[in-house]
Subunit: 340 residues, 2 copies
């Protein structure tokens, strides 16, 4: 082995770089979506996704109660299942804990996870608890989906409308309000509470799955393109375009945001939160125009067509009102934990 290569450290190549290096150990057909899918029986595929959360990196007692940390961890994994079109079967929870952690903290964490899971009639089905110098939470969620209803990043085609199932930016703005309570003095109490709630108790959009099938007619006539917006709306659209070898144009004013943003944020700030904030856990779907329109009408409440799939490889942000010049969106501005 080349000595320069062998001394390379994780920090030199980052999370994304390491993941790319590790892909050669995985079957190629399982790479590239929010979760792995494989057929287990006729008419049934198993979907599996996993997340590791580390104290001080992904959650902190300073901004998050253990109940909320648990809810958010469960929600993120359920959202990865929703991103694939899969209904949850259960989650496993692996915990690494310093001996000094309070038992009540762990019970409250489990309480939060369970509250989130119960909304979707699912539960914690197994786990492991070990000693560790740092509190670590490893969740694996698994679900099932009819193979004809799998949502994939790679299925977008030119001409598709890009649908978001709800507003973006809420979770990020809620975090700002928690970190800086002096912000947003013009917000009504109910608005402030709702934004903070969006951060603390995000809702994975498993409820959208039966609606998609209904709108598209059953069995679904073509592969459904999409993913969730856990790493931000910009990231989701860029990932879909990259996997589908297409481009996209987004229209600024069509990106749905919380109404409260108008009482608080500048247009630039609002757009930054909506595009790059992350953790809104909405679905971003690419559908034929007619189906897209039907889905948006059915969902209401922040659902919108935010742009279109175009030829090429560029994701362009366009402002009809010409307040901003057109700009090309790219992943390096996105919400990449490892690089910060």
């Amino acid at each position: 082995m080349n000595s320069e290569l062998s001394s390379q450290q994780i920090k030199d190549i980052g999370e994304q770089g390491l993941l790319e290096r590790l892909q050669r150990f995985c079957p190629p057909e399982l790479i590239g979506d929010d979760a792995a899918v494989f057929k287990t029986a006729p008419g049934q595929s198993l979907v599996v996704t996993t997340d590791v959360l580390v104290d001080g990196v992904h959650f902190s007692n300073l901004t998050t109660s253990p109940e909320d940390a648990g809810w958010r961890a469960a929600a993120a994994n359920l959202s990865d299942l929703a991103a694939m079109g899969a209904s949850p079967l259960g989650i496993t929870v692996g915990l690494g804990l310093p001996g000094e952690v309070r038992v009540s903290w762990v019970e409250r964490l489990y309480q939060g996870m369970t509250e989130c899971l119960q909304q979707y009639n699912t539960s914690i089905v197994g786990g492991d608890v070990v000693r560790s110098p740092v509190t670590t939470l490893a969740i694996t969620a698994f679900g099932q989906v009819n193979p004809s209803q799998i949502i994939r990043r790679s299925a977008a085609v030119v001409g598709d409308a890009i649908v978001v199932t709800g507003v973006h930016g809420a979770s990020r703005s809620g975090l700002e309000l928690l970190l800086h309570p002096e912000l947003g003095q013009n917000l009504k109490d109910a608005e402030r509470t709702a934004l903070i709630r969006a951060h603390q108790r995000p809702q994975p959009r498993l409820d959208v799955l039966p609606v998609i099938c209904q709108v598209l007619a059953s069995p679904c006539p073509m592969p459904i393109a999409g993913m969730d917006s856990s790493d931000g709306l910009a990231d989701a659209i860029i990932q879909i375009c990259r996997a589908s070898s297409v481009g996209a144009v987004l229209e600024c004013r069509q990106i749905s945001m919380p109404a409260a943003f108008g009482h608080w944020l500048t247009k630039e700030q609002a757009l930054e939160y909506a595009l790059y904030g992350g953790e809104d856990f909405e679905l971003v779907l690419c559908l034929p125009q007619k189906s897209a329109l039907a889905l948006v009408q059915y969902l209401g409440q922040g659902a919108a067509i935010v742009g279109n799939i175009i030829p090429g490889s560029i994701v362009l942000l366009h402002d009809e009102q010409k307040k901003f010049p057109d700009q090309v969106l790219n992943l390096s501005q996105g919400f990449q934990h490892f690089d910060d």
Copy 2:
């Protein structure tokens, strides 16, 4: 909440105590075996198990190469599937890594995992990589089993013979030889190598599953009782007895051990390693005498009937040669990571 209770820390109640407290968050029908099982389709159940391994607690660069750490982690999870009678579908790998870890270390870890998995035609199907102050490895394995072939701890009945699928104590003795190379001067090179190999590259006994079905006739006429011996032979028998509300008597001289132990260890030391060493990853099964005999004959190579299931709740170690007085085995002597 009572203030004394709310200030209780993990170290006050230990791993086992915490797991018991957390069971109320899980559906009761999923608790008590090596992995969770649930029905996903007619004639098919999904089995899921998860493990968290922490640098310095469960593995160490001092005694274990990254390849071996990877192999052992994969083997432990495959063994949990074997313990339930399930064939593997795949594993997910969640990694927490300090930025200073070498990329080559991670690649070698994955190499070891993959080598183990390939033996059983399975693979890494997904994962997550995050920044963490301590190297942490969270593996979730999932597999499938025909519901009539599930192995459960709770199915042992009085009169069953207790079968081990291979020798015990090898892995523990291999670790001793790695830590103290000056030990075992009378061992032949091949013996030393084999014992160290048993520690570094343990084999989960997935190969035994088709044999069980063959020996018992298909479809299996009754629930199969058993688990793996990952936490030691004594632990496995005690766990089975507890879950099945029965007792057991073990016969010292019937417990199969590596032949090399005769050139090195005292009888007491050998027995201690075999009963409490752990990580041999054999299966411990409770079967009617005739089936037990047929299975042992089929397997050969260290497979043995080591005792019988009796009424009561006590696990008794008996020495036919009367070298030791009878002793009652209990879990507190077992290999419990958290309590040490």
